[in-house]
């Protein structure tokens, strides 16, 4: 398989989880180092906003890291590593944490409804959308 053009099937097999049936498992997952959005979360290269990412972090386990756990019945954005990817949680309001994709690795963020995003080496901030409601409310999709 071409490492640069993985399919959704490759990512679901990697994570050992399923996506909703209507998604095309053969769809190619573009791997980029730029800004991406998956539903209600932004995957922001830290360089774009000069964000000071926390130092360190742990290797993402084979089962992945749930970025935004939607609780019972909801869907989770799952960070999945193909190679050396580290995760440093922040847990500060909208900012969930940062992941760093090391040389030669690819990180994926997988969601049962939205499919997968591919991330080339670099450091990314995971940030939830925030609405301007009566108080600031995090967006839940």
């Amino acid at each position: 398989m071409d490492q640069r053009q993985p399919t959704l099937q490759h990512v679901t097999a990697l994570a050992g989880v399923d996506v909703l049936q209507h998604l095309d498992l053969q769809a190619a997952i573009p791997v980029t180092s730029g800004l991406q959005r998956q539903g209600d979360i932004g995957l922001i290269p830290v360089g774009l906003i000069d964000y000071a990412a926390p130092a360190g972090g742990d290797q993402v386990p084979a089962t992945g890291v749930p970025l935004v756990s939607a609780g019972q019945g909801g869907h989770t954005h799952l960070l999945v590593a193909d190679g050396h990817v580290t995760w440093a949680p922040i847990d500060d309001g909208a900012d969930v944490g940062c992941f760093t994709v090391h040389e030669g690795a690819v990180a994926y963020v997988l969601h049962p409804e939205h499919g997968a995003m591919g991330h080339a080496p670099g450091t990314y901030l995971v940030r939830r959308q925030t609405e301007q409601a009566d108080d600031k409310r995090l967006v839940i999709d």
Binding site: T32, G74, H111, E131, A133, D134
Partner: protein, 432 residues
């Protein structure tokens, strides 16, 4: 590990036990159905004994928190009438009822904090809180909503008036309940039957009192939102903290009942809800029926954790009704239930600028609309988006997100949701 007589570090086994305790209490908070009545009543008797009292002669069951609150005020007079005892008649008087109540806000045994501080270090206290206590907090939500609903119902019953949502006082939801004119005879009849059975006498129908007793609403229920505190006690006991035996009875009762009241000589227990729906975040929520429903039909309606009038959920509020609603939070829920795309059209909201292509979401557009200032507590605009992923049926979901009122254009609005500038957001490669 013990440090200076206090537990200073948890073993892996203790850690695992605490997680079990947390899971158990998280489940208890969302539990529905009749519960184990025998276990509940046994817990009541244990709690009374631990508090140095004789177990209650009468333990009655009612079907909802509301029936329970009314019932606890009627019960002493019912006991007096059924058993004919003079002492029971005295108990029915208000000062006596107040004095006879056994446990207040802190439950039967409020002194557990001192026990913890003497027997575990701060670090362990923190760990037990995280593992055993915090998971239980989510389960207290219906209890808090039920408290608000009972409060409104008390108000309605006392004033004998409810704001008519669509009548002269249109737009009020201060009292999101209807007056319950039958509650007195209904609950009274249930109490007479249960007390007669427990006293071993034949139940003869008694005339219900014309009014509820003075101060009938003054009674502190147990088991309301005290789950977290009991989970804490349970966790401490699991790791070997001593002296918590007095809490065991109340804890056993709590998992099997809804609200309950403990008085010298009598206790009133109420059923857990039969139905309890939550959203993905665990908040009380149901889009087409009660979020919590008790066997006597008493219900609480909620939209993502906000208590809303039954009519908002069971019927469909018109745009007019939404705009007339005075409570901003309820208004927001009503709009979300209708859906922003529909509300924008129905309310004729004014578009700000032109549609713009949605960056990273080819073929889709973003539109921005002004929201009338009276609609939200803070001035906002709403960004109408189209989901980048298709649904199962091949359609794309449209949804609205609120943004600050000074947002000039749709792309700036979408960028602002992620704390980005328009130019930063335009670099987006892909959205799904």
């Amino acid at each position: 590990m013990v440090e200076g007589g206090r537990i200073g570090e948890l073993t892996p086994e203790q850690d695992a036990l605490l997680r079990e305790v947390g899971a158990k209490w998280a489940a208890a908070g969302g539990a529905t159905g009749p519960g184990d009545r025998d276990a509940a009543e046994e817990g009541v008797r244990t709690a009374y004994r631990a508090a140095g009292c004789a177990p209650p002669r009468f333990v009655v069951w009612l079907d909802s928190p509301w029936a329970g609150l009314v019932g606890q005020s009627l019960l002493p007079a019912v006991i007096a009438a059924v058993t004919g005892g003079r002492a029971a008649r005295l108990r029915a008087r208000l000062p006596r009822r107040r004095r006879d109540q056994l446990a207040g806000l802190g439950g039967f045994f409020p002194g557990t904090r001192e026990l913890f501080e003497a027997q575990v270090t701060d670090a362990v206290l923190h760990q037990v809180t995280e593992l055993a206590c915090t998971p239980a907090r989510g389960g207290t939500d219906w209890r808090i909503l039920a408290r608000e609903a009972v409060r409104d119902q008390v108000h309605a019953q006392r004033e004998l008036v409810v704001w008519e949502p669509d009548g002269e006082f249109e737009g009020y939801t201060q009292a999101q309940v209807m007056l319950d004119p039958d509650v007195r005879p209904r609950v009274h009849a249930e109490l007479v039957a249960q007390v007669a059975a427990q006293a071993g006498v034949r139940a003869t129908p008694l005339k219900p009192p014309r009014l509820l007793p003075r101060g009938w609403w003054h009674a502190q229920p147990l088991g309301r939102w005290g789950l977290a505190g009991h989970a804490m006690d349970d966790g401490m006991e699991a790791i070997g903290v001593r002296g918590l035996e007095p809490c065991q009875g109340e804890r056993q009762t709590l998992t099997e009942v809804g609200w309950w009241w403990a008085f010298r000589d009598y206790a009133v227990l109420t059923r857990r809800p039969d139905v309890y729906h939550r959203d993905a975040e665990g908040r009380p929520h149901c889009a087409d029926g009660p979020a919590a429903l008790w066997p006597d039909g008493w219900a609480v309606h909620a939209w993502h954790g906000v208590r809303v009038p039954a009519a908002l959920i069971e019927g469909a509020w018109t745009t007019d009704r939404i705009l007339r609603e005075r409570n901003a939070e309820v208004r927001r829920c009503a709009i979300e239930r209708m859906g922003w795309p529909e509300f924008i059209v129905a309310a004729g909201l004014r578009q700000v600028g032109a549609d713009e292509p949605d960056p990273g979401n080819p073929g889709q557009h973003l539109s921005l609309y002004d929201v009338p200032t009276r609609l939200y507590n803070v001035p906002v605009r709403v960004l109408l988006c189209t989901n980048a992923s298709v649904e199962r049926d091949g359609t794309r979901r449209r949804y609205g997100l609120t943004v600050p009122a000074d947002t000039p254009d749709p792309v700036t609005a979408a960028a602002g949701l992620l704390g980005l500038t328009r130019n930063q957001y335009l670099t987006i490669h892909r959205a799904t």
